[in-house]
């Protein structure tokens, strides 16, 4: 159709036009162009722009323009013009006219290519949208298509759902151009409108696609109005209160339209909005403000079945800075550190012992047997040292004699040597050893002690041993009955006066001398000795081989010099070596056991008198009787090493026979002496302590 129109068009057009050119017979077009051809060009351009020019005018101007502009496109014409050019001037004008004619002939084609169909029915309009702001009226907009070069009139027709009557749009102007406004009277709710736009021009009309519209579903309200933002405080924390009003036209009061609102808020410098749905209320509190600053708020609304409105204009509010976030951070950190600290403290508390050990290593305390820390703490040095000093024989009378241990008293009576009673409270290894080297020449030492401290006992001892062997066994048996592990034994080497030796075996307890400070009976001393032995028996009972036994041997030879053994240390040491030490009470005194019967006579400690004199009495075979105290020997001195040096008294000869007398009197009865064994309780602490007492129990 368009081409038809175009084709039909230009033919008649050149004819009625005022003739700036005329068509000659040769079909040459003589065109008299005005001199101001650029002006023509301008006019043509302007006329094109306004679009008001008629087709004819446009054709002419286009031809003129084409002459100027269209050279390139017209291949043939240029060719033709060129052909005509070499002609003469007048001929050239003719040629020019012909050329123009040809151009004009071809002009419609050119103009057709160049653009704009001059006359055509309009293009198809398109209905873009229909909107109702309040569900009472609505407006439809369309976009017109091409108008085909002619004035086109658009009209909108609608048809309601139920009826077939077609109506035209009542109002084209109110809503602007290309729009149709339906007022209240023409708006039916819940009714489908079938709307069509028709574009009409003189050549034809174009119908748009029909659109079904139900007003209810095309409601898009105006934005809410009067949006106010105010900063309020709630317990120190600020919050925003936003309030607004519904758009003016929407009738929410009567319930005709129900609106839901939505608002968004952001800080001025941020990019992202935070939206909140407010429902149907017209006020909203924004509580979650991260920090202070300027806040921007916008509100929009929507009916329950429609479109969202545009966002309202921005309302601003300044919120003061508050430290909510900082506070929470600090609180969190504080709690975290406190928790960590508590855990660490708890762990330290659990391991406090280990830590204490690490940081403050324990001071090694004294490991002395008998050392009493309590005494040390009390600070009484006397007591401390008295505790250390085991048998404080000469100078500490008040201690319990149980604590004092004197192993044994060895009295060695050699002919050449002095008789000495030795007492070693705290014998050392060297002494013992030296003694043992020299002491054991007496084979008849007896079962008490192989490391005999007795010296020089050979002949007599053998004899005596032979005698005494039986008695010894008897005594041993009796002693076992007694369960006495301690004894005081004085080994008397009797027969040979010059070579007689008496060795008193441990029979001296440190308590004894103490107790001797007071008036003591013979009996009492003996009793004490017994007691002491008994008390120590339990103490010594731990010995595995505490075979203290009584070595009682009675012998007939009375007058015998009783001599204390000269080398006290050695003898005692040997004895103690054989004996069980305080710590090593378990050590078997090998000595005592293997005491071979020998001919020694034994002297027991009767008592210790107040002069710290040990009164000895001869041991009667198996007899334990209270004998009148005979001062057997006298304490010579106390060594620094707690060695009691006894010496015979002046009347030792008296004493000796006296002892022998007693001995004989006691001969018959079998009794058991409890060898008072003084054991040094402190002994085990000393290296290699061997108590001087050989544990010899003699059983009756």
């Amino acid at each position: 159709m368009a081409t038809q129109d175009v084709g039909a068009g230009p033919r008649p057009s050149p004819a009625p036009a005022p003739a700036p050119f005329r068509i000659t017979g040769t079909r040459e077009l003589m065109l008299r162009l005005p001199r101001a051809s650029p002006l023509v060009r301008l006019v043509s351009l302007s006329s094109r722009l306004t679009g008001c020019a008629s087709r004819r005018e446009r054709a002419l101007l286009g031809a003129a323009a084409g002459v100027h502009h269209g050279r390139g496109t017209e291949g043939r014409e240029t060719g033709k013009t060129l052909l005509w050019l070499p002609l003469s001037g007048a001929k050239m004008r003719n040629v020019f006219e012909v050329m123009l004619l040809l151009l004009l002939l071809l002009l419609p084609l050119v103009t057709a290519h160049a653009g704009g169909q001059p006359n055509s029915p309009p293009g198809k309009p398109v209905l873009t949208s229909c909107r109702s702001p309040e569900k009472e009226t609505f407006t439809c907009w369309w976009k017109p298509g091409s108008d085909g070069g002619l004035s086109t009139k658009h009209s909108l027709f609608y048809r309601k759902e139920s009826s077939d009557a077609v109506h035209e749009c009542p109002d084209y102007r109110t809503a602007g151009e290309n729009s149709c406004f339906f007022n209240k009277n023409n708006t039916a709710i819940w009714v489908n409108y079938n709307i069509t736009v028709v574009a009409t021009n003189s050549l034809g009309s174009a119908y748009s696609d029909p659109v079904e519209v139900d007003v209810v579903y095309i409601v898009q309200p105006n934005p809410p109005e009067n949006v106010t933002v105010s900063v309020m405080e709630d317990k120190g924390w600020p919050f925003l209160r936003v309030s607004w009003e519904p758009p003016r036209k929407a009738d929410t009061r009567s319930g005709w339209i129900t609106l839901v609102y939505e608002l968004r808020v952001k800080l001025k410098e941020e990019d992202d909005w935070e939206t909140h749905l407010a429902g149907q209320q017209k006020m909203f509190n924004i509580l979650s403000l991260p920090s202070g600053g300027e806040y921007q708020v916008e509100v929009r609304c929507r009916p329950d079945h429609g479109f969202w409105s545009e966002w309202s204009s921005t309302s601003k509010a300044n919120v003061p800075h508050h430290f909510r976030r900082d506070n929470s951070t600090w609180i969190l950190m504080t709690v975290f550190f406190a928790f960590t600290f508590l855990i660490v403290a708890w762990l330290l508390h659990l391991n406090r012992h280990n830590l204490k050990r690490c940081i403050l290593p324990p001071v090694p305390g004294p490991k002395i047997k008998g050392f009493d820390k309590k005494l040390l703490k009390s600070g009484k040095s006397n007591e401390i040292f008295s505790a250390l000093v085991v048998p404080d024989y000469p100078s500490t009378p008040s201690s319990n004699y149980e604590d004092l241990l004197v192993d044994y008293l060895e009295v060695y009576v050699p002919t050449e040597r002095e008789l000495q009673l030795e007492e070693s409270k705290d014998p050392h290894d060297d002494r013992l050893k030296s003694d043992s080297s020299t002491s054991d020449s007496d084979s008849g030492r007896g079962s008490c002690d192989s490391h005999t401290l007795l010296v020089d006992k050979e002949a007599k001892e053998e004899a005596r041993q032979a005698e005494c062997g039986q008695t010894r066994t008897e005594v041993q048996r009796s002693l076992k009955d007694w369960d006495a592990l301690t004894y005081a034994q004085i080994d008397m080497v009797g027969r040979d006066v010059p070579s007689g030796r008496v060795k008193t075996w441990p029979s001296l307890y440190s308590p004894l001398p103490r107790h001797s400070s007071g008036p003591l009976d013979q009996q009492s001393s003996l009793q004490m000795a017994k007691q002491h032995s008994l008390s120590t028996s339990s103490f010594l009972a731990q010995e595995a081989s505490g075979e203290s036994y009584w070595d009682v041997c009675s012998h007939g030879e009375l007058p015998r010099p009783l001599r204390a053994k000269t080398p006290p240390h050695r003898g005692l040491r040997a004895r103690s070596d054989a004996d069980v030490s305080g710590a090593g009470l378990k050590r078997a005194p090998a000595g005592p056991r293997s005491l071979a019967p020998h001919t020694s006579e034994y002297v027991e400690v009767q008592r210790v008198n107040n002069k710290d004199v040990v009164l000895l009495q001869p041991v009667v075979t198996g007899c334990y009787q209270a004998l009148p105290g005979e001062v057997y020997s006298k304490v010579k001195r106390v060594d620094s090493d707690n060695i009691l040096l006894l010496q015979r008294e002046a009347r030792e000869e008296d004493g000796y026979p006296g002892a022998e007398q007693e001995n004989t009197t006691q001969k018959a009865s079998a009794c058991v002496y409890a060898a008072v064994l003084v054991q040094d309780q402190m002994a085990p602490m000393v290296n290699g302590y061997v108590d001087t007492a050989t544990m010899c129990t003699l059983t009756c």
């Binding site: 569900k135 009472e136 759902e161 139920s162 209240k184 009277n185 023409n186 708006t187 039916a188 709710i189 819940w190 009714v191 489908n192 079938n194 659109v211 079904e212 139900d214 209810v216 009738d251 009061r253 009567s254 319930g255 005709w256 129900t258 329950d304 079945h305």
Partner: protein
């Protein structure tokens, strides 16, 4: 003796006669507004509020089911041309524009609502049966439709009560003697059925909205007589 017994009966009657006049109406009404019995303890306002809430809910559910149906069964090009197939919603003689609505009286508002409600009772039943015939109808749509038809019945009852309360009219007969608008024996083919159901749903949605709007307007008129336009 005989006299004494008669006398006693008379005394009893005299004492108890006020009770005869009172009807045995429970003091507390049933909470749903679907109660047929007259409920005198609920105020008119409250009753109207409840009816409005009911209508709102029905509309919302119908809207949801319609959009679901649209998504599931209707191809996109046809979604905006509801009446292409020629199925249009039934139009009843009820006001359809705001101006019309403003002009009619309360009485007509209520009656229009009632008419609407009653006109949809049967089609919804038909819709249910039609949906059951589908192979892959989503459970949601079927449940919603079922729910809506139940609620519509109770809405009807409520409107009847309202009419009685507000307009002081007698109980309307609730029997629906309208001619069957849908033939159940005819089973259209699938595409046709789909389009028909779709039309039904969308029309019902519209009518539900109508009911809601009328009732709200009625409420407005009750509270503010002069400002409701």
């Amino acid at each position: 003796m005989h006299l004494v017994s008669v006398m006693r009966r008379c005394v009893w009657a005299v004492l108890l006669w006020p009770n005869l006049l009172t009807s045995s109406v429970p003091l507390d009404c049933r909470q749903e507004q679907g109660g047929v019995s007259r409920c005198s303890s609920i105020s008119q306002e409250k009753l109207l509020d409840r009816v409005i809430q009911h209508a709102e809910l029905i509309y919302r559910v119908s809207e949801e089911s319609c959009s679901l149906y649209e998504e599931t069964f209707i191809p996109l090009p046809l979604q905006f041309q509801r009446n292409q197939a020629g199925y249009s919603c039934r139009t009843l003689p009820i006001p359809s524009s705001r101006s019309e609505v403003q002009q009619i009286s309360d009485k007509w508002l209520l009656h229009s609502v009632l008419m609407l409600v009653q006109s949809w009772l049967e089609p919804l039943v038909y819709l249910q049966t039609s949906l059951d015939r589908y192979d892959a109808a989503p459970e949601v749509i079927i449940n919603k439709t079922k729910w809506v038809s139940e609620k519509l019945i109770s809405l009807e009852q409520g409107v009847v009560v309202l009419i009685k309360e507000m307009l002081d009219e007698g109980l309307l007969n609730l029997n629906h003697s309208e001619e069957a608008l849908f033939q159940y024996d005819v089973q259209p083919e699938m595409v046709e059925s789909v389009m028909k159901d779709y039309t039904l749903l969308s029309c019902f949605k519209k009518d539900a909205h109508k009911m809601e709007a009328f009732l709200k307007l009625l409420k407005c008129r009750q509270t503010e007589i002069y400002n409701c336009s």
